[in-house]
């Protein structure tokens, strides 16, 4: 059923159902071709109604049109990457001093001594942002980056944490942030999905596809995971052994049957919508493969992303794909790096993080530089982070446990003022203490940059107005001004 928009519309029994543009998109299949469909059916925005909706289009002028979310899955160590803690190295080998509020660590090594960071940190760019020697390429882009050192969340384990970073809740069942964005803003390209997911290690991401699921919202808002090979979107190609003429012949015969069927059932818009959905599917078959065809890119661009180097090739390819997708109007692209909790350095953080940083550093910097030189960074928001950070306390002698109490994420582009550091953790990087930003605040900030008020985007579910940040969270607006 279409979702009546809450707040303003009371049930009107036995009255003409008034569709808002959004209802029409739901019925007609938003994301994938919805706008075109609504338009073709002559059911474009209904004057007057659209204006009443609390969730139609942007609430204020956006600074970001698209989001690229670089998800470092498993939890990268903020204190070894962006948040240097000299005090930690001083106290290394000692137990956590009483002056720091103790925390629960999932692996339960409560009395483990503090572990020094072996990284050397330097200030970079004109802004002098601190970055460790693990990320030399990202360090070149700091003047475009706002480093947020004061993030915190509630998920102690990977499943909880990844779920909350995607949906706002540690419990399964809510729509992903990308779904909310698709619901709120629709797509700019009718022939591509609005919300796309790229995994560096397909099938391994903790929680699987529910991370990009639409939860209680219609399936049209769910993320589409692109798979490699000739068929980037599932079922996009005509089946093997069926030529284009036969496929067209089948579609023509199908539409003939469907039109005849609809002729005896006039004014039932759903039937028309399904007829049109087959035509859109046919058009998508033409457009989508081109979007993911990297052979169109120059050698120079490919090496910028590190595609010519074995270690960086996989993530580099995904970063380049992400640029091609936002270029074509895809709203929300989520890239997983380290799928399957590979950043989860409970032991040997040196070996683990060295390798993972190497894999993703150049591709990420390449993406930022490429977006910038094409003028795309202005309205593309790039977000970097994992589901949590890591503890200053050691685990198994040379690793670090999960730390959702204080960790770093960064944002760049899409209206974000680069070259600034926001918030702070305590002296050893355990708790966020200054300008604390909960995951809800981070989500609200992302939505804010996209022109969406997190409290104004509403979806009625079981009679309850549901909002992307669970009625909490506030956008950190100063991110645009510094």
């Amino acid at each position: 059923m279409s979702q009546p928009d809450p707040i303003y519309r009371k049930p009107l029994y036995h009255h003409e159902v008034q569709y808002t543009r959004r209802d029409m998109l739901v019925k007609g299949g938003a994301g994938f071709g919805a706008l075109a469909l609504a338009y073709l059916l002559g059911d474009g925005p209904l004057p007057g109604l659209a204006a009443q909706s609390t969730s139609t289009g942007p609430h204020h002028p956006p600074t970001a049109k698209s989001v690229i979310f670089l998800f470092m899955e498993g939890g990268p160590s903020h204190i070894d990457l962006f948040d240097p803690k000299p005090k930690l190295n001083e106290l290394a080998g000692k137990p956590l001093p009483d002056s720091f509020e103790p925390v629960i660590t999932p692996m339960g090594e409560y009395d483990a001594p503090l572990l020094a960071s072996k990284r050397s940190f330097q200030q970079h760019g004109e802004s002098g942002i601190w970055v460790s020697d693990w990320l030399p390429h990202t360090a070149e882009c700091v003047d475009d980056i706002a480093v947020i050192r004061s993030c915190w969340g509630n998920g102690l384990n990977h499943s909880n944490g990844v779920c909350q970073m995607n949906t706002g809740s540690i419990l399964a069942g809510r729509p992903s942030l990308g779904s909310w964005v698709s619901y709120g803003l629709g797509t700019e390209n009718q022939n591509l999905p609005a919300f796309v997911v790229l995994e560096d290690n397909p099938g391994k991401v903790v929680n699987g596809p529910r991370n990009w699921g639409a939860g209680f919202m219609p399936a049209v808002y769910q993320g589409t995971a692109l798979v490699g090979g000739d068929e980037p979107i599932r079922n996009l190609s005509t089946p093997a052994g069926i030529g284009e003429n036969r496929q067209r012949g089948k579609l023509d015969f199908l539409q003939q049957l469907n039109r005849q069927h609809a002729a005896e059932r006039q004014d039932q818009t759903e039937l028309e919508a399904r007829i049109e959905s087959y035509e859109l599917a046919f058009r998508m078959q033409a457009e989508a493969p081109g979007a993911v065809d990297l052979s169109e890119e120059t050698q120079q661009v490919r090496s910028l992303y590190g595609i010519d180097d074995k270690e960086t090739a996989v993530f580099g390819r995904n970063c380049l794909l992400a640029r091609r997708l936002v270029e074509r109007g895809v709203r929300f692209v989520q890239l997983y790096h380290g799928s399957g909790s590979r950043w989860d350095a409970h032991s040997n953080i040196e070996g683990n993080h060295s390798m993972l940083c190497k894999e993703c550093d150049k591709p990420i910097a390449g993406l930022l530089k490429d977006l910038k030189q094409r003028g795309l960074l202005e309205d593309t928001l790039v977000v970097w982070g994992g589901e949590f950070g890591r503890t200053p306390m050691s685990e198994k002698g040379n690793g670090r446990d999960h730390n959702p109490y204080g960790f770093t994420m960064w944002m760049a582009g899409g209206g974000v003022k680069g070259g600034q550091t926001i918030g702070a953790t305590d002296e050893i990087g355990l708790h966020a203490v200054e300008n604390r930003l909960h995951i809800h605040d981070l989500h609200a900030t992302i939505l804010y940059l996209m022109g969406i008020d997190n409290m104004g985007l509403v979806y009625l579910h079981k009679g309850r107005p549901e909002r992307p940040t669970l009625n909490e969270g506030e956008a950190f607006r100063k991110i645009t001004t510094g």
Binding site: V220, R234, R246, Q256, Q268, Y278, A281
Partner: protein, 207 residues
Amino acid sequence: MHRLIMTSATYRQSALDKTETARLGDPDNRLLWRMNVRRLDAEQIRDAMFAVTGELKTTTGGASVATSQPRRTIYTKVLRNTRDPLLEAFDAPEGFASTNQRNVTTTPTQALLMINGDFTLARAKAFAKRLERERLTDEQLVSRAFQLVFARPPEPAEQAGAVEFLEQQSQRDLQNVSTTAGGDARAAALIDFCHVLLNSNEFLYVD
């Protein structure tokens, strides 16, 4: 209460147009002079396909099976983190929380899945085999297929259209036929015909 509603004359109407007067006077059906067409639920679509192709195992009870098995969907396993693509596309709930009202969406993703996906194609092949076993003439074959999929015989024009499709389709892309139906262009055309019927609105919607 449910009985009262569901046995009422209003609820038991069909979605077919009745009179021009009603249609012109109330095109949006706000006075409920007809039923609105209803798309089958995800489970119904899957079950109906197996039923039409003759593959459905009608045994009851027993251990749950994978969704690739021809049992009714109620007997299939539900893996919340790895959902069945067909059921997912047609709005089966996620299974994390109770759902008081399902979404009913119409998307190109569904169209792609139905026209290109392995599942529907496999059903079309099974359906074609079923028809072939019955050794019918083209006309009889079309009638039988309509009866199975739409529960009605074809109109003469529909019958002619379908026979024409079978003829034309067996002339198309002959070089590709070998991989789908062992080189038999006629058999390939029959699979295509079955595939189209399973994709049709008349199959996916009830009046």
